[in-house]
């Protein structure tokens, strides 16, 4: 099995506070959609923040293509090809859609092709083209999430980490977000998804990871996770859910 990213035995937390992650393990394979599920406080978002450099890895290591990401700042991790879309507040509400897109390319050393690249992405997301001069904060939740996800594509990243893209969205819109995510995966972008809505998240993923109390409990093909009776009882709202 080839692995793109490997999180081994990672401990991390906020400030001087207690460890939220306590020996988490994760293996990310190229081109696949990985869904991390688990109850509130399990450390799902914390894991993404530890990978992208927002939180310090206290113990263990994060290896990306065999190279440690430990101690790097978020902008350095980004330049290696890992984009993180944080929960809910990934946008600049009083900048236009187009300006938000430009911010997506802020880390590029050469911005001469940036406008062309944004045009290409706008072609694929007509709503963003239509709303290009509108303030991002005035768009609907689904449109904002679309922008946040589409914006990552400017950098042609290897890995996109999404923290609860479904949060606060109507079920129909949630499926649209997962469709965009699958489309990104089809283009070879590896996805690392954290979802509170475990059932929908797993149904749209290739690989499932169950996190609880900062530890990885289970990791396997998403189908297996969905059908595992223990996991159904604990995290998917009982056997009737599947």
């Amino acid at each position: 099995m080839s692995e793109l990213l490997h999180v081994s035995n990672v401990t991390a937390g906020y400030g001087d506070g207690p460890a939220i992650l306590d020996g988490a393990e994760l293996t990310v394979e190229p081109g696949k959609v990985h869904c991390i599920i688990g109850p509130n406080g399990a450390g799902k978002s914390t894991l993404l923040k530890a990978i992208c450099g927002m939180l310090k890895v206290r113990k263990g290591d994060v290896l990306y293509r065999g190279e440690s990401l430990k101690g790097l700042r978020p902008d350095q991790v980004l330049r290696k090809g890992i984009c993180f879309v944080p929960q809910e507040r990934a946008l600049f509400p009083k900048m236009t859609v187009r300006e938000n897109m430009r911010m997506g390319g802020f880390s590029l050393p050469d911005t001469s092709n940036l406008e062309k690249r944004i045009d290409e992405i706008e072609e694929r997301f007509p709503i963003l083209k239509e709303r290009r001069d509108q303030h991002a904060g005035t768009m609907s939740g689904g449109q904002q999430q679309t922008l946040a996800m589409a914006r990552t594509m400017i950098l042609k990243p290897d890995i996109v980490m999404l923290d609860e893209p479904s949060l606060g969205l109507a079920p129909k819109i949630v499926q649209e977000m997962f469709d965009i995510m699958r489309m990104m995966a089809a283009e070879g972008i590896t996805i690392l998804l954290v979802e509170q809505n475990a059932l929908m998240g797993l149904k749209n993923s290739d690989w499932g990871v169950v996190l609880d109390l900062g530890k990885t409990l289970f990791s396997g093909p998403a189908k297996d996770v969905l059908q595992d009776p223990r996991i159904q009882d604990l995290y998917l709202g009982g056997s009737k859910a599947a």
Binding site: M54, D75, F84, P86, R89, F92, K94, E99, R102, F106
Partner: protein
């Protein structure tokens, strides 16, 4: 009729200057959540730069303006490095900065008093006491120059924020610090440069103020409430809001001064501050207040 027009013109002329005085305060709050009570004393410091340039070497305050910007921006950088940078990650940053900047204001006021005494000063280039007459109404030339130049500087700032790469970084950091950092913005650098620009703007405002108002070191206490009312009415951190609020309040203050009495004119700003906080605490162009 002529009275009304005259009052309006005087109000508008001062509005531009107030807008420049408030813009640096607004920028610094927007980017760093620093409530800079030391902003007005920095304006006084800028006024002294222009004053001494004129007094000692006969240099026009308009020429001293870029010098004041540079001197004050350097002071801003030192101040930020010494006082504000280390606390930037604190959850209580905004609250702390109120006390820190209050202390800075006292220290700078004391230093200015020690160096230059508490005598009232005013820079007096020829145009400061001149006026242009159009029919029955007159426009004081000094205020006209100061007002126009203020608007030019603010327009320059707005264009810089809107179109330059660093401007994008400043706006992004103002609106969503975490997301800006995740997209590769060096937010500590943005904070430092914005602070330098903010204090530099105080220097620019000071040069203009030096021939519009008489000043002395302790004068800044009077301006704190005036500038706070502008920035709060405009919406903390909104440049456009600060400009609109400045014109609005200074025109109202001019009318109060003409028709009710000059002593009540300054009260306009204090009253406005109370009313805004009661009725619309986020101001004209601001976000809903975030207390956390």
């Amino acid at each position: 009729m002529a009275d009304i027009l005259q009052t309006l013109i005087l109000g508008l002329a001062l509005g531009g200057v107030f807008a420049l005085m408030g813009s640096g305060l607004s920028l610094v709050f927007g980017v760093m959540r620093i409530v800079n009570l030391a902003h007005p004393v920095m304006i006084i410091a800028g006024a002294y730069v222009a004053y001494w340039g004129f007094k000692l070497y006969g240099i026009d305050p308009l020429v001293m303006l870029p010098v004041a910007i540079v001197i004050l921006a350097v002071i801003g950088i030192l101040l930020y490095k010494l006082v504000f940078e280390r606390e930037a990650r604190s959850a209580k940053y905004s609250e702390m900065t109120v006390l820190l900047t209050f202390a800075v204001a006292m220290i700078v006021e004391g230093a200015l008093g020690g160096l230059f005494t508490n005598t009232q000063r005013v820079t007096s280039p020829a145009y400061a006491t001149d006026a242009i007459f159009i029919g029955d109404v007159f426009i004081p030339t000094g205020q006209l120059y100061a007002g126009i130049l203020s608007l030019v500087i603010i327009a320059g700032l707005a264009l810089f924020l809107k179109y330059s790469r660093f401007g994008y970084a400043i706006r992004a950091t103002t609106q969503n610090r975490e997301a800006a950092e995740l997209l590769g913005v060096n937010v500590s650098m943005v904070a430092l440069v914005s602070f330098a620009i903010g204090i530099g703007l105080a220097g620019a405002a000071g040069s203009l103020v030096s021939f519009v108002f008489s000043f002395f070191p302790a004068k800044h206490w009077e301006w704190i409430a005036v500038l706070m009312s502008l920035v709060v009415l405009g919406g903390m951190g909104s440049l456009l809001g600060t400009v609109v609020a400045s014109f609005l309040l200074s025109v109202i203050a001019a009318f109060v001064g003409t028709y009710i009495g000059a002593t009540w004119s300054t009260m306009t700003f204090f009253l406005a501050l109370f009313l805004i906080l009661l009725v619309r605490p986020q101001g004209l162009f601001g976000e809903k207040p975030e207390l956390a």
